[in-house]
């Protein structure tokens, strides 16, 4: 399998872009579950509570996915850093325009 070089800084930047989303997902989940929400009607209250449950679940899915992707990007960045530091680079494709 060919090994492709990538600048770890680019992967770090993508990983950093995920941070605020994960924080917002976590914070909002707590805020929503703590928010008093009184509809004044049992049926409407049930539908409203179900919607909150679903949006919280969607935020959790986003949080889980962000964590997985951040982990994956860090792993690739670490591998790329090792590869880039290696004195015998086994590179089959360089970044366009990157001097070798």
């Amino acid at each position: 399998m060919p090994v492709h070089r990538v600048d770890p800084a680019v992967l770090d930047a993508a990983g950093r872009a995920l941070g605020p989303l994960r924080e917002r997902a976590l914070e909002t989940e707590d805020d929503l579950l703590a928010a008093p929400l009184l509809a004044g009607d049992a049926e409407l209250q049930h539908v409203l509570d179900a919607w909150v449950d679903h949006v919280v679940d969607a935020l959790r899915a986003v949080g889980e996915e962000v964590a997985e992707q951040a982990l994956g990007l860090r792993a690739v960045a670490a591998g790329a850093a090792v590869l880039n530091d290696s004195p015998t680079r086994s590179v089959s494709a360089a970044r366009p325009g990157t001097p070798r």
């Binding site: 990538v6 989303l21 909002t28 928010a35 509809a39 949006v55 969607a58 899915a61």
Partner: protein, 172 residues
């Protein structure tokens, strides 16, 4: 009867959702841009898979932002509607009480309890007041039900979209 409810709580949560929507839209744009930037920097199957996951994450985030904006605005509108309905209910109850009437699940009726002798004119005036208030009460009930039904339908639809988005993200 309107059943009460707290317009302030609906409005506050609506505001929270609108802020969430704004923040998540910005997050989605940031994530989409950062993954798009990888395209020219990182090639291969792993890159393609990672970028597709990033795109799906950004799309799901955008979906949550859109649903939050939709429901946030809906809750704020319903909060205003509910406040108006509760105010009208309180006004109708006060008018009924001052006319010797009371509001029940069955509509506007003569208030229970002992009452003095009344002549035919007085009884006719009370009945006329009762009929007017009863009509207003039924109209208020219709508008309350209609308002709730519209909110429920929008919430149901949004719930389905959110469920589908979360399931798609977990199934990737």
């Amino acid at each position: 009867m309107t059943g009460g409810g707290d317009p302030g709580s609906l409005s506050a949560t609506g505001g929270l959702l609108l802020r969430l929507a704004t923040g998540m839209s910005a997050d989605a744009r940031r994530v989409a841009a950062s993954y798009a930037a990888l395209r020219g920097e990182w090639v291969g199957r792993a890159s393609t898979a990672a970028r597709r996951r990033g795109e799906l994450l950004a799309a799901t985030t955008t979906r949550i932002a859109e649903e939050s904006a939709c429901v946030g605005a809906l809750l704020q509108r319903h909060s205003t509607d509910l406040a108006g309905l509760l105010e009208q209910e309180a006004s109708l109850r006060a008018q009924a009480a001052s006319a010797g009437l009371s509001v029940t699940d069955a509509g506007v009726v003569l208030a229970p309890g002992p009452r003095g002798l009344a002549d035919a004119d007085e009884e006719a005036r009370t009945e006329a007041a009762r009929a007017v208030l009863d009509t207003a009460w039924n109209d208020l009930q219709d508008r309350t039900r209609s308002s709730r039904a519209a909110v429920q339908a929008a919430l149901h639809a949004s719930t389905e979209r959110l469920g589908a988005a979360a399931a798609a993200l977990r199934a990737r």
